[in-house]
Each structure stands twice: as structure tokens, then as C-alpha cells.
């Protein structure tokens, strides 16, 4: 049937006039209007992420100020200006930096210990099957458990000191980091795994040389979540259980000032917590992100 179709088609095809070939010279680029034009200043400013965020922050501060003035109740809701004053005072007297530092110190200890524990657990999980089961079991058991719920126990075990705070911090950091790191490791492409083994890498060198960088986007997410969890837990622990170490941290600062009805100072304490959060997220993690996953093209 196709044979017949072709026979009727062939002469027709041959009859069709042969179309001439075409050749053209490209026009010189100078003849174009725009090949590449720089963006206007407004467009370029809009492209700066930090600037956009700064404008948003300013708007939020303005809203706060206006609402507080309209409410006109400094005991319930002080103005942004009054908070800023209390904040400046706290900085000048040295109490706020001191409190913040003692919080951060405990936080960093707990964070580092939590990450170390998570590292051990995940390395165990990717090297052995029992390790995987253990990690899955432990995460499903302990991840939903609020770290604060463990504090009374920790106080009995480790006493009124940094020890018990570090314990609950480890608990709050460990599961988030371990879970994300493990799922990151599982998501590493088979080709990259084969490349690593092709180089003759094994054991810890394989993990540090291939798995960790390849899974870095998820590890970074885990680290961010862990950091936020640690902050929350620490401030809450200080608020609920008051002073548990020598000088007390930011949570204790907030609690103390609430008792003395120094509401602007309470706001200044909260403001400091927020400020540190913003700084860590937008400076520390952002820099790490830019230098690693963004640079490597793993995240756009």
C-alpha cells in the first residue's frame, strides 16, 4: 500500500519547481538599537535583596510605632522609640550584651554538641542498616517531644547549671539536623557516589569528600532549623526556670524586667533575640549559602 502511495507521489515531487538556495549576510551589530542596555538605577536597587529587606523592616517598625502611639498604653505595648531607648540603655549599661553573650555561649555549646551527636548518628545510619533503623526509630520517638519537657528531668540529673541547658539544647538540635542530613545523604545522585568510589574513597574520606558536600543543601537546612529550635528552647528554658547559671541569659533578662514592670526593657530583650536571629540568618547562614550551594549551582 505504501508502494502505491509512493508511486503517485514521486512524479508530483519531481514536478515541483526546485526552490533556489538563499544566502544572507548578517547585519552588523551597530545597526541594532539595543544589544545590551544597563538597567536603570531603580531596577538595580530593587535587585539588591538586603535593601528590599531593610525597607520591609523599616515599614514594620513604622507600623509598630504608629499602632503603639494610637494605643497609647506604654505598660501594654510601648512604642518602637521607647523600646529603642530601653535597648540603647541596656547596651550602654552593659547588661544586655552580657546577658546576650551568656545566652549565646550556652547556645553555641549545645548547638555544637547537638551537631556532633547528629554527625555520629547519621554516619552510623548510612554505613549500617541497624544504624538506619536506630536513627529512624529515635527520630520518630524524640523529634515530636518538646525539649522543654525534658528540662525538669535535666535539672534533676545535671543540677541548676549550664549542663542541663546544654542537655535540652542537644535534644532540640540533634533530631532536626540528623533527619535532614540523613535524607540529604540518601538523595546524593548515584553517579556522584560511583565517582567517589571510582577514586578509591571509602569510609570517612568518602563521607567528607563526597557525601557531605553533595548533600550540603539539606544539611544546611537542617543546621538552620536546628539553630532556630535551639534559640527557642534556650529562651523558653530561661523564662520558665529562671536563672540557672551564674548571671542568667536573655530569657532571664526578659523575665526579670517583666516582674519589675519595665515593659520597654522586656521589649528590648525580645528585640535583642530577634536581632540576633536576623543577624545569624542573614549574615552567617546567608554567607555560607552564597559560598557553597549557590556558588556550586545546587540552588538557585
Amino acid at each position: 500500500m505504501t508502494g502505491e502511495g509512493r508511486q503517485t507521489l514521486l512524479p508530483e515531487h519531481a514536478r515541483a519547481a526546485v526552490r533556489p538556495e538563499i544566502q544572507r549576510e548578517p547585519i552588523a551589530t551597530s545597526a541594532f538599537g539595543v544589544v545590551a542596555k544597563p538597567l536603570s538605577i531603580g531596577e538595580r536597587l530593587y535587585n539588591v535583596g538586603a535593601l528590599r529587606k531593610a525597607v520591609l523592616l523599616l515599614l514594620l517598625a513604622l507600623a509598630w510605632e504608629l499602632y503603639a502611639r494610637w494605643l497609647n498604653n506604654p505598660l501594654l505595648f510601648p512604642t518602637f522609640g521607647a523600646t529603642l531607648d530601653a535597648f540603647r540603655e541596656g547596651i550602654a549599661s552593659g547588661t544586655l550584651p552580657l546577658r546576650a553573650w551568656s545566652s549565646i555561649k550556652v547556645l553555641l555549646m549545645g548547638y555544637a554538641a547537638g551537631i556532633a551527636c547528629a554527625a555520629v548518628l547519621t554516619v552510623l545510619a548510612i554505613t549500617t542498616r541497624v544504624g538506619t533503623d536506630l536513627l529512624e526509630l529515635l527520630t520518630s520517638m524524640f523529634n515530636p517531644l518538646p525539649a522543654i519537657a525534658l528540662l525538669p528531668l535535666a535539672l534533676i540529673w545535671f543540677g541548676l547549671g549550664n549542663g542541663s541547658l546544654v542537655f535540652v539544647l542537644v535534644h532540640s538540635v540533634l533530631w532536626a539536623v540528623a533527619l535532614n542530613t540523613h535524607s540529604g545523604f540518601l538523595g546524593v545522585s548515584p553517579t556522584l557516589r560511583m565517582v567517589g568510589r571510582n577514586y578509591g574513597l571509602s569510609g570517612l574520606r568518602y563521607v567528607t569528600g563526597i557525601l557531605i558536600p553533595a548533600a550540603f543543601p539539606s544539611i544546611l537546612t537542617g543546621l538552620k532549623i536546628g539553630w532556630a529550635f535551639a534559640w527557642r528552647t534556650l529562651i523558653a528554658a530561661e523564662l520558665v526556670f529562671g536563672v540557672s547559671s551564674g548571671s542568667g541569659g536573655l530569657g532571664w533578662f526578659i523575665y526579670e524586667n517583666k516582674n519589675q514592670l519595665e515593659i520597654p526593657a522586656v521589649f528590648a530583650g525580645l528585640f535583642t533575640v530577634i536581632l540576633i536571629g536576623l543577624l545569624v540568618e542573614n549574615v552567617v547562614f546567608r554567607t555560607v549559602e552564597l559560598r557553597t550551594v549557590r556558588r556550586w549551582g545546587m540552588q538557585t
Binding site: L192, V195, N198, Y199, L201, R205, G209, I210, P213, A214
Partner: protein, 263 residues
């Protein structure tokens, strides 16, 4: 081609498990590769050629037969058999072109850092990427990434370079160019390469010797000599070989429809 073979594959049967099947990929495959050969594994998809290459790479063990490299049984992956994969994601995204080529040299403690760097740059220059030595992989085109992978493989100066359809994901023009470049590199260093492809023209262009495999499971159908790449044969000779291979590979496939037409 005298003396003992560099790579000796004898009676190799490979099997792998999927979720609910045990699949035999190749059945009692034999072949020998000698030094400086460009040995092609050619066959339709599903003939186990990639699996065979992975077995030579040491990623899976034969259930029957053995694979020997320089007399030693292959038991695990290693830098003496560098692999070039088909996928573009085989480069480490967190390392620059130079560091990608350098890393296996340092990881395997082949060379001291200084000499390793010189060697890496030498091979990067060979694949014409000297200008991009400090670029990160995601900024390169597909062809450039494959060239880095080839440079990385060659810089290790492995006993045999294993290439798993390295040009299959490239566009036709780039593929053609890469084939020429590979041959030029071979003229330069006379490395031994085991090359997997499903394209007959590519096999004839690149190979010095071609192993034809039948599908499901892969068995050796023939082992042919290809045409010399530096003394271009006439188009007819080329076409004749191409048709011969085509006929051998698809002999079974052609018989079936022919029977249908007759009926």
C-alpha cells in the same frame, strides 16, 4: 598485539536484582583488551553493555566467570579504571574544573600536590579548557563537562579508561566534534579505552575493535576489527561495515516482520 591481554574477561555472567525479578544482564561473555586498543562494546539497549562496563569498573561482581586486569581479579572500584559516565552530573559541583581533575590524583596519593597540579593542568589544556580551569561545573555546557570528565579520567593515567556512552547526551554536532577530539587525544597518548555505545557509526569511528552483543541477556555475537581512523576508508567500505554490523545486530529483529509479511 602480542603478549598477555591487559584486560581479560572470561565467561562473565552478570545478574542484578530489581524489586521483583532477578535479571541476567550478560551470559558468559568473553573478550580480551590489549594495550592501546580502542575497544567498543556495541549492542542495542538491554544487551547489558553498561552493566558489563560497571562490572569491569568493579561496581558489581560476576556470578560466573572472572574479570582480570593485568592478571589481578577485579574486586572493587578503583582509580586504575577511571570511568567517564554519560550523565553531566558526574563532576563534583563544589569543585572547580581544575580541582575536579586534581581531586582523584590527590585522593589516590598518586602524585605529590605540586606534580598533581601540573598534570591536571596539562590534561585540562589537552581538552582545550585551560581558560575555564577556575570555572565551576554548573557554568559549563554539556560538551565542556564531558571534556572535563575525560580530562579527569586521562589525568589519572589509568590502565584502562572506561567510557559509558559519554557522548550520548550531546547534540549531534558536539558529539561529532568530541569524537574527533577523543581520537586526537588517543593519537597523542595511546591510552587504552573500553567504550560503550549503541550507535554503529560511533563505534566504527572511534573503535579499533568492536564487540557486538545480542540483547536479553547480552551474549557475544561477534568481535570485529574497525577501520583505521587515520587512513579514511572510502564511503563504500564504511557503509559496507556499517551494514554488516547492522545486519548482525538486527538479524533476529528483521526476520520476524519478514515472516509476517509473507503470511
Amino acid at each position: 598485539m602480542t603478549g598477555s591481554p591487559l584486560l581479560d574477561v572470561r565467561g562473565v555472567t552478570l545478574q542484578y536484582k530489581t524489586r521483583d525479578h532477578l535479571v541476567t544482564a550478560t551470559y558468559r561473555v568473553d573478550f580480551q583488551v590489549f594495550r592501546s586498543e580502542r575497544f567498543i562494546l556495541l549492542g542495542p539497549s538491554g544487551c547489558g553493555k553498561s552493566t558489563l562496563l560497571k562490572a569491569v569498573g568493579g561496581y558489581l561482581q560476576p556470578v560466573e566467570g572472572e574479570i582480570r586486569l593485568k592478571g589481578e581479579v577485579v574486586s572493587r572500584p578503583g582509580p586504575d579504571r577511571m570511568m567517564v559516565f554519560q550523565e553531566f552530573d558526574q563532576l563534583l559541583p563544589w569543585k572547580t574544573v581544575k580541582d575536579n581533575v586534581l581531586f582523584p590524583l590527590l585522593a589516590s596519593h598518586r602524585l605529590p600536590p605540586k606534580a598533581a597540579e601540573e598534570k591536571a593542568m596539562h590534561y585540562i589544556a589537552k581538552v582545550n579548557l585551560a581558560k575555564f580551569a577556575d570555572s565551576l561545573p554548573h557554568t559549563l555546557s554539556g560538551g565542556m563537562k564531558q571534556r572535563v570528565a575525560i580530562a579527569r579520567g586521562m589525568a589519572m593515567e589509568p590502565d584502562v579508561l572506561l567510557m559509558d556512552e559519554p557522548f550520548a547526551a550531546l547534540d549531534a554536532l558536539t558529539r561529532r566534534k568530541m569524537q574527533d577530539e577523543l581520537l586526537a587525544l588517543w593519537d597523542d597518548t595511546r591510552f587504552t579505552v573500553l567504550f560503550v555505545t549503541h550507535s554503529i557509526p560511533e563505534a566504527i569511528r572511534i573503535g579499533s575493535r568492536i564487540l557486538l552483543l545480542s540483547p536479553h541477556p547480552g551474549q557475544v555475537k561477534a568481535e570485529l576489527n574497525s577501520l583505521a581512523h587515520d587512513a579514511p576508508a572510502s564511503a563504500e567500505v564504511h557503509q559496507a561495515l556499517e551494514q554488516k554490523i547492522h545486519a548482525m545486530l538486527f538479524a533476529d529483529a528483521i526476520e520476524a516482520p519478514a515472516a509476517e509479511v509473507n503470511a
